[in-house]
């Protein structure tokens, strides 16, 4: 019995992980307990040094003093405050009228505003909810196809996951041992291409089914001509200023991503204050939610750290590495398997869990195969974005469900009854966008230059960023980067 245990402790531990996580007890505690119990077992069996856990307080201390993770509460807080600033509403209202006259106009407006909001905050819920509350009723009023309307809102909301400054990219950068700034630079082009693909889907839909997304009638667009143009410029100022404050300062190198987050949060506070929307109750709710989110996120990391301390101790990382390097097809085979795995896991894990549990196991293998870790991170980021939108557990769909009318209601303007949106419509609406997401993963695999090209250019000359997208082999990039620390807690 114990000989079998000794030989197979890593696979047994991994199987235990799956079982315990599926039990439905909080992930962080299950992870930590699993690490501790297998650690004690390993010490009993003589596999591990008795001093194993003496390293634990120092590891936890490393998490506490981790400058990168500090950005998590900043960006969360910023997103929450920004909601009350009224920015999203102004944007949707104005941009909706700008695109209104063309077929599918509101859908384009949602994609565009989604991308703009994504570039100012890193939080999905914020965008989905405001777009669901503001754009969805208008789309329903003028006879948009329900699946298209809900799908485009949910998907555009998840753009916050891949367009910098996203929380996913921060956490991935931390786990991959790369700089957040590089991760941001690498993710910009893929994020924009993805936005373009969403818009292209809307275009395709309006060509095939013109009735699915009609243009807005003139009475729905009170602003015209110069008045509208002036309004557009005016509403674009706050988001652009915030984008500069956060991303600009990071890319010029004035601020670290953490400081950028703090600047952005302060900017959001100022914006809300100027618009007279900052109240004590909002401030308290935002701090409360931020504190709880930060706590559970960091606790998953604490749990994962305890787990990996033991898992590495029993050479579990070597076991995983052996499994993955023996895959046929070398680099490409590895990437395809990893992406399918991530896609499937994303059905029931959310991205924090994926990033803290799965990524540290994959990163060393990817690095050994000569895969650029920034590229790998962006690829995983695009893939994990699906975890927000695939039915039935995608958060974006939950958020949308909570704000979409469930029952028939009487529209205020048309004075006509309008059917509620069914959960089935929301689920089916998300499917085409999940497919787009898979296509995007394939594009990033096929054209690493989308990520790495941008990266090298920003290092040389920021003004040349968007000129060319060279499709260079990523080995070139590899030579310049330092060996990773495998995402080990510092």
């Amino acid at each position: 019995m114990s000989a079998f245990l000794v030989a197979n402790i890593a696979p047994i531990m991994f199987a235990g992980l799956v079982v315990f996580l599926l039990l439905g007890f909080p992930v962080s505690f299950a992870l930590a307990a699993l690490g501790l119990s297998f650690g004690l077992l390993g010490i009993q069996l003589g596999l591990l040094n008795e001093a194993l856990f003496q390293a634990l307080p120092e590891r936890i201390f490393g998490i506490m003093s981790n400058d990168t993770l500090l950005a998590v509460p900043f960006f969360t807080f910023m997103g929450l405050i920004l909601e009350r600033s009224g920015m999203a509403e102004d944007l949707l209202d104005t941009i909706g009228q700008l695109f209104g006259p063309i077929r599918g106009g509101l859908a384009y407006a949602v994609v565009f505003v989604g991308a703009l909001l994504a570039a100012t905050t890193g939080v999905v819920a914020a965008s989905v909810i405001s777009m669901g509350l503001i754009s969805l009723p208008i789309m329903l009023r003028y006879g948009y196809d329900r699946r298209l309307a809900t799908g485009v809102i949910a998907a555009s909301g998840t753009l916050a996951q891949i367009i910098p400054p996203s929380l996913v990219l921060i956490v991935l950068a931390d786990q991959l041992g790369r700089s957040v700034g590089d991760m941001y630079a690498g993710a910009i082009l893929p994020g924009l291409v993805l936005t373009g693909l969403y818009a292209a889907y809307v275009l395709g839909k309006t060509i095939v089914h013109p009735a699915a997304a009609p243009a807005l009638p003139p009475e729905a667009r009170p602003l015209r001509g110069w008045k509208l143009a002036g309004r557009v410029v005016f509403v674009l100022i706050p988001p652009l200023a915030l984008i500069f404050l956060v991303l600009g300062t990071i890319f010029i190198g004035v601020a670290t991503p953490t400081e950028g987050g703090a600047m952005g949060a302060t900017g959001a506070l100022v914006l809300a204050l100027v618009n007279r929307r900052l109240t004590w109750s909002l401030l308290r709710q935002a701090m409360n939610s931020t504190a709880k989110l930060t706590t559970f996120v960091v606790f998953i990391l604490v749990g994962a750290t305890v787990f990996s301390l033991t898992f590495r101790g029993v050479n579990g990382d070597l076991w995983i590495e052996h499994l993955l390097t023996s895959l046929p097809g070398g680099k490409l085979g590895f990437l395809i398997v990893v992406n399918i795995l991530t896609f499937l896991l994303a059905f029931f894990l959310d991205f924090f869990e994926l990033a803290f549990i799965i990524v540290p196991l994959l990163a060393p293998v990817a690095d050994k195969l000569g895969i650029d870790l920034i590229w790998f991170g962006v690829l995983l980021g695009v893939n994990m974005q699906t975890s927000f939108m695939h039915p039935p557990f995608g958060y974006a769909l939950f958020y949308l469900r909570s704000v979409a009318p469930a029952r028939e209601y009487v529209d205020k303007i048309l004075r006509k009854p309008i059917q509620g949106v069914t959960t089935g419509q929301i689920y089916w609406g998300a499917v085409p966008f999940v497919v787009i997401q898979v296509i995007m993963v394939a594009i990033v695999i096929a054209f690493p230059g989308l990520v790495t090209g941008n990266l090298e250019q920003t290092k040389i000359d920021p003004s040349k960023v968007q000129i060319e997208i060279p499709q260079e082999p990523q080995e070139q990039q590899q030579e310049e980067t330092a060996p990773p620390d495998f995402g080990a807690p510092k």
Partner: protein
């Protein structure tokens, strides 16, 4: 059981107060960090003490709010399987998890990290960077945080058992924040307010 339930209420009360006090650190942290960035760039002034204060506050938030977050049942779970089970079965899983996962884990980490704090306290350990902060408050946060977590775990255990014995209504409902998700309610209220 009544005595235990009273203890549980006391723990809940304490963690609720602590959580509500500690979440102000989020705002302080934002302002301190923004001020640090501004002063470094605009005035070319940087202070290690202020930089370290950022992460002292960060550590304070996640460690001292761990019990508070547990009280509000907001540590992430994977509920794909468990959401299919009856409420009683879910509560049994919680009882099992608290007894075998949470309590041993948090008591063990508390026990491991206490000597580290004592060491920092007696030796007067100071940050390695020039002008850095004294270390014992940060070292103290770990055992303190895990103490609060253990206490809350104990309180949750009492409430779960009392629920299973039919003594109290579902304890999770009582402390649930309104709305679907932690960020949801804020935003929903915000957008609705904004539209008026």
């Amino acid at each position: 059981m009544n005595g235990l339930l009273a203890l549980s209420r006391a723990i809940d009360f304490a963690n609720e107060r602590i959580g509500r006090l500690v979440y102000w650190c989020v705002l302080v942290m934002v302002l301190v960090s923004a001020a640090n960035a501004t002063s470094r760039y605009a005035l070319n002034l940087a202070s290690n003490a202020w930089l370290e204060l950022q992460w002292y506050l960060f550590a304070g938030v996640f460690l001292l709010c761990s019990g508070y977050t547990l009280l509000h049942n907001e540590h992430i779970r994977i509920d794909v399987v468990s959401s299919q089970l009856s409420r009683r079965a879910q509560v049994w899983i919680d009882v099992f998890g608290i007894v075998f996962f949470l309590l041993p884990m948090s008591l063990f980490i508390m026990w491991l990290s206490w000597p580290v704090f004592m060491n920092a306290w007696t030796s007067g350990e100071i940050s390695g960077s020039a002008g850095g902060l004294i270390r014992w408050p940060a070292r103290l946060l770990v055992p303190l945080g895990f103490f609060l977590l253990s206490a809350q775990g104990f309180s949750e255990l009492i409430k779960r058992i009392a629920y299973l014995r039919g003594l109290i209504p579902d304890p999770v409902e009582k402390h649930k924040d309104p709305g679907l998700d932690l960020v949801l309610d804020v935003e929903k209220a915000a957008v609705e307010q904004g539209r008026k």
